[in-house]
């Protein structure tokens, strides 16, 4: 028996999935229905589902942001009305995606695809690849979603002062404190707006408007002093990059 979750903020949309799942109830068991991403995260941790039916547009955090916060993302069939960015990503990596409103035939095809794949396909890898490719969608450039303990924190990108590498994590520094995110520096280097942020060091990305001074440090290296008083090392190549961005 495979465990299934349905995550969608519209009750009627969940009902369609539930109804279409009826014929499969010997193989798939619906553990819970969730109305938003927060409930979704909890339910995924609690039930460790094999398959999630996931809507993209949801309150507070969208479907992709929710998946980012789950340590071992399950296999996903997306159900969405319209999202040109997401569709590209689905085609590449999701088990399947269903465009609302979808027919029973189309739904069956998606479920059968999951059933024939499960146990063979490296599901986690596929979902991770999916998340990397959806980082191109515009919402992902405006805010970063992190988990602090059991709470979810949404950091608007304009609140970020700088980012620092921290083992396998990246710590995101804001006026309110710092938060850890399970991503790489190069991920942020690619997704953050290059006009606002610069990677000045292997382990540091800073917001350009936060810089108040740049002092020479040891040979070939510099120190950037931020408004918050933080002192960030700037490597030789980082300094060249900064000079370009600042036009000096």
């Amino acid at each position: 028996m495979k465990r299934v979750l349905i995550i969608d903020d519209e009750p009627l949309a969940r009902m369609v999935v539930l109804e279409y799942l009826q014929p499969f109830n010997s193989q798939l068991q619906v553990m819970q229905e969730c109305g938003d991403g927060f409930e979704g995260i909890k339910a995924i941790m609690q039930h460790q589902p094999d398959l999630v039916f996931l809507d993209v547009q949801m309150p507070k955090i969208n479907g992709f942001e929710m998946l980012e916060l789950v340590e071992q993302p399950p296999q996903v069939i997306f159900t969405t009305a319209f999202d040109e960015y997401a569709i590209k990503a689905f085609e590449a990596h999701a088990v399947d995606y269903l465009l609302k409103p979808f027919s029973r035939e189309r739904f069956n095809k998606a479920v059968e695809k999951f059933l024939s794949q499960s146990g063979t396909a490296p599901a986690v890898k596929a979902t991770e690849a999916l998340l990397d490719s959806t980082s191109q969608s515009p919402a992902q450039h405006e805010r970063i979603v992190v988990k602090t303990g059991t709470k979810v924190k949404i950091i608007p990108v304009h609140d970020v002062e700088y980012l620092a590498a921290d083992d396998d994590y990246v710590s995101i520094h804001t006026a309110e404190g710092s938060f850890l995110k399970n991503k790489t520096m190069s991920f942020f280097e690619q997704t953050l707006d290059a006009r606002q942020f610069a990677r000045v060091h292997r382990s540091y990305i800073i917001r350009i408007s936060e810089i108040t001074r740049i002092n020479p440090y040891e040979k070939d290296t510099h120190l950037a002093i931020l408004k918050s008083g933080a002192r960030i090392p700037v490597s030789k190549t980082g300094y060249v990059k900064l000079k370009q961005v600042l036009g000096i």
């Binding site: 949309a13 369609v16 507070k60 319209f82 608007p156």
Partner: protein, 322 residues
């Protein structure tokens, strides 16, 4: 000038006299030409005032000739030259007139053409703007998210509540028809606009269930006040979007209309989360588009105000009443 000089010299006068004569004839003529050209650049005569232009040409030609008549005797070039001057005076006048008239004609044609070119460019630009706006409107009206999600809800209802599915199809059809037939130039009454808005809100309520509530209050005497069609639609859409996607709890959207002197004043409120609201909140295209529309209709920029306090976002719109 060289031609003039050569001509005078050929009549048997020495080079000095010929040069002075040509200077005194050509310089005022050039000044007159410049004057008429400059005038025509900034002021183009209408059909009736071509006669004025002709008179101006005659006057300027006469002035140029007069300059020669008063100026040349100072040269003391002898009686022969004086006789020559008298005899050639008419010829000089006619030549001056022809030269100035020719200049006037050329200038007139040139500047009229320039003006026409500019007008055409402006017209093309305005047409392009109108087309872009129309395209944007069309895309807005389609609202793919709203449409597909509504169809999905209908799909769900068909299974277990077919009567409600049928009702929702009718609401959706009425709503779509309402957005299609609106003519931007024709204002509608507030009660018509609210009726259309209610169709939209009813559909959204089916989609979001108990999460979405609305409060609409409207003073009796402003039911008949006028506003541009579909003005409130994008605002309420925004309110719902931010209300429902910025918070996870129940959401109440309130709309209140009242008369304030000669203005119909409408207030739309929705809850939002100031912590996580995206930076663009409140300046989205919905509100900017409406501000622009009101500006085009009433030539005023002060009709829309937004406030954000605690966790309520408020927008106030004032519509001047005729």
């Amino acid at each position: 000038m060289a031609a003039h000089l050569y001509l005078i010299h050929n009549f048997g006068f020495d080079w000095y006299v010929a040069a002075m004569d040509s200077a005194l004839s050509i310089v005022p003529l050039a000044a007159a030409c410049w004057l008429i050209d400059n005038n025509l650049r900034y002021y183009q005569p209408g059909k009736g005032s071509y006669i004025n232009l002709l008179i101006w040409c005659l006057v300027l030609a006469a002035a140029c000739t007069a300059a020669v008549w008063w100026g040349l005797p100072y040269l003391n070039a002898g009686d022969t030259f004086g006789a020559f001057l008298r005899q050639s005076l008419i010829l000089r006048f006619v030549t001056n007139f022809l030269a100035i008239g020719w200049m006037a004609m050329i200038s007139l044609i040139w500047y009229v053409q320039q003006d026409q070119k500019e007008n055409e460019k402006r017209k093309a630009e305005a047409e392009k703007l109108a087309r872009d706006a129309e395209l944007y409107n069309l895309r807005q009206q389609l609202q793919p998210h709203f449409l597909f999600n509504s169809l999905n809800s209908i799909n769900a209802l068909i299974g277990f509540k077919p009567d409600e599915a049928r009702k929702m199809i009718h609401q959706l059809s009425d709503f779509l028809r309402g957005t299609l037939k609106k003519d931007d130039q024709q204002q509608v009454t507030l009660s018509e606009e609210l009726q259309h808005l209610n169709l939209y809100l009813d559909i959204e309520k089916v989609r979001f269930g108990h999460r979405l509530q609305t409060e609409i209050s409207c003073d009796d005497h402003c039911n008949k006040s006028m506003l541009p069609p579909l003005l409130l639609q994008p605002i309420v859409e925004n309110a719902i979007k931010f209300g429902l996607y910025d918070t996870t709890g129940d959401v109440t959207i309130s709309i209140r209309a009242e008369m304030d002197d000669n203005y119909l004043s409408i207030m739309v409120q929705n809850p939002y989360d100031p912590q996580t609201a995206r930076p663009r909140h409140g300046t989205g295209f919905g509100i900017r588009g409406m501000e622009r529309r009101l500006y085009l209709l009433f030539a005023r920029n002060d009709l829309v105000e937004t406030f954000q306090n605690d966790d309520i976002f408020t927008i106030m719109i004032r519509i001047p009443q005729a």
